[in-house]
């Protein structure tokens, strides 16, 4: 179920729609550490992460009606854009690196987390569900998601075969889904 944004988000949104620059500054002050941190963690490049951070807030300013407070928090909306852009960057970099190395088998199967994780209403519950996973599962799911990594790359980083990485991610997601579904009841 979508979560309605808190009153503060809705107020800031009204102000930004009404062309109030100082509201953009306030949104930036409040959320840029999160957005920058997120972009940095995915790209591992400060300059790129700064560019992405700028762009995310500019998108919000230029097209504020693309955000709908009835459908979620501003924090999550901005993070979605930042994450998408950061992953796009990582993937573009990788394609460039791969083509520089010459032809080789390069398969990509992006993890479809969204297919498996059930909707949860509160961030805190998801956070707790993630932290309560056993280390092996938790690392796998974080790598897949944070870096936009393939199953194979997750395997390489964890020192396990690709198939094992794949099943760990799937198991982690199933557990998360179960844990969240249980709380929903």
């Amino acid at each position: 179920m979508p979560v309605e944004a808190p009153y503060d988000d809705r107020l800031l949104h009204r102000r930004v729609v009404g062309g109030d620059e100082s509201a953009l500054g306030e949104v930036y002050d409040r959320l840029s550490p999160l957005i920058f941190g997120l972009a940095l963690r995915v790209t591992r490049d400060r300059v790129i992460a700064e560019d992405i951070t700028q762009e995310v807030f500019l998108v919000f300013w230029e097209r504020p009606l693309a955000y709908d407070p009835e459908r979620g928090t501003l924090r999550a909306w901005l993070a979605t854009i930042a994450h998408r852009r950061a992953v796009d960057h990582v993937r573009a970099e990788e394609r460039r690196r791969v083509s520089a190395l010459g032809p080789r088998l390069f398969e990509r199967e992006p993890a479809r987390l969204e297919d498996t994780v059930l909707a949860a209403d509160e961030a805190e519950r998801v956070r707790q569900a993630v932290t309560s996973l056993p280390d092996g599962l938790r690392e796998a799911v974080e790598l897949a998601y944070f870096g936009g990594r393939t199953y194979r790359q997750v395997g390489e980083e964890l020192g396990v075969p690709e198939g094992t990485a794949k099943s760990r991610i799937r198991l982690a997601l199933r557990r998360l889904a179960d844990a969240l579904a249980e709380e929903e009841v």
Partner: protein, 296 residues
Amino acid sequence: MDPVERLYLDAMMEDPGVPARSLRPQLLAGARARRRPAAPTAPWAEPYAGRVAAMDALLASAEDDDWSRVIVEGWTLQELVAHLAAKDGLLAASVGAPVLGPPMGATDSLGRTGDVQAYERARSPEQTRRDWRAQADALCRHLADLPPTTPATLDGMEVPVRDQILARCLETWIHTADAAQTARIRLPDPVADHIRPTADLCARLLPWTMLLSGLDGSGRTLRLTLTGDGGGEWQVPLGVEDAGPGTPDAHITADVVAFCFLLGGRGDPAEFPAELAGDLSLARDVLTTAPALSGP
């Protein structure tokens, strides 16, 4: 929101990023280049400047097809924007602000609308958007130095410029909502500080809407309670020449935004969600006649 995004966010919270504060001035400069903020103007004209900025935000998202889609009055989005520019231009002319667009011929709303629409039809939607915004911003800049009580005339109605600009605010707001509805975009309400004076104008118009509908409310008083951000309570004398409010004869309670839209001709008075008390037939008369001043 996608649960995956939330999953990601929450893991992030365990390891927050380094704040990139130094980017703030750059961000604001970049923002100004991407989308103009509300024009600086007199405080009493800020509700209008805010609605202009909101309309511009909506237009920023319009695709090619959107511009030729009919919104209201049989007008396309481009023609609707030209209509707003036409009426803004008439108010500008009345207070000595620059008038943009075609040379002033007709000086009534519909005539000037026709002239500006004919002129803009030969231009691209993006040019029409720029022309409208330039006219609105020029008006705002001019109002910055004008006393709010300066008389201004639009369609033969002479009232203080403060009320004229609030009427422009309401019309811009309502047409933005019209366009948003067609585009299936949810338009957030203005901030409370902008709704409040707009609702106040609507309350003060009630004696006129009654009179224009052939009903004389002289000597009667309405207690009007408007709920929601920007709402409040008004004692409205219902005769245009009444010196002040008397003891309330009827009481209407309604949502503040819905009430402004009713005055703007949106919504059926018969179906209008409101709580009525006291003289119910008087309260119903007020609601039934409320849209009397709304036009294109």
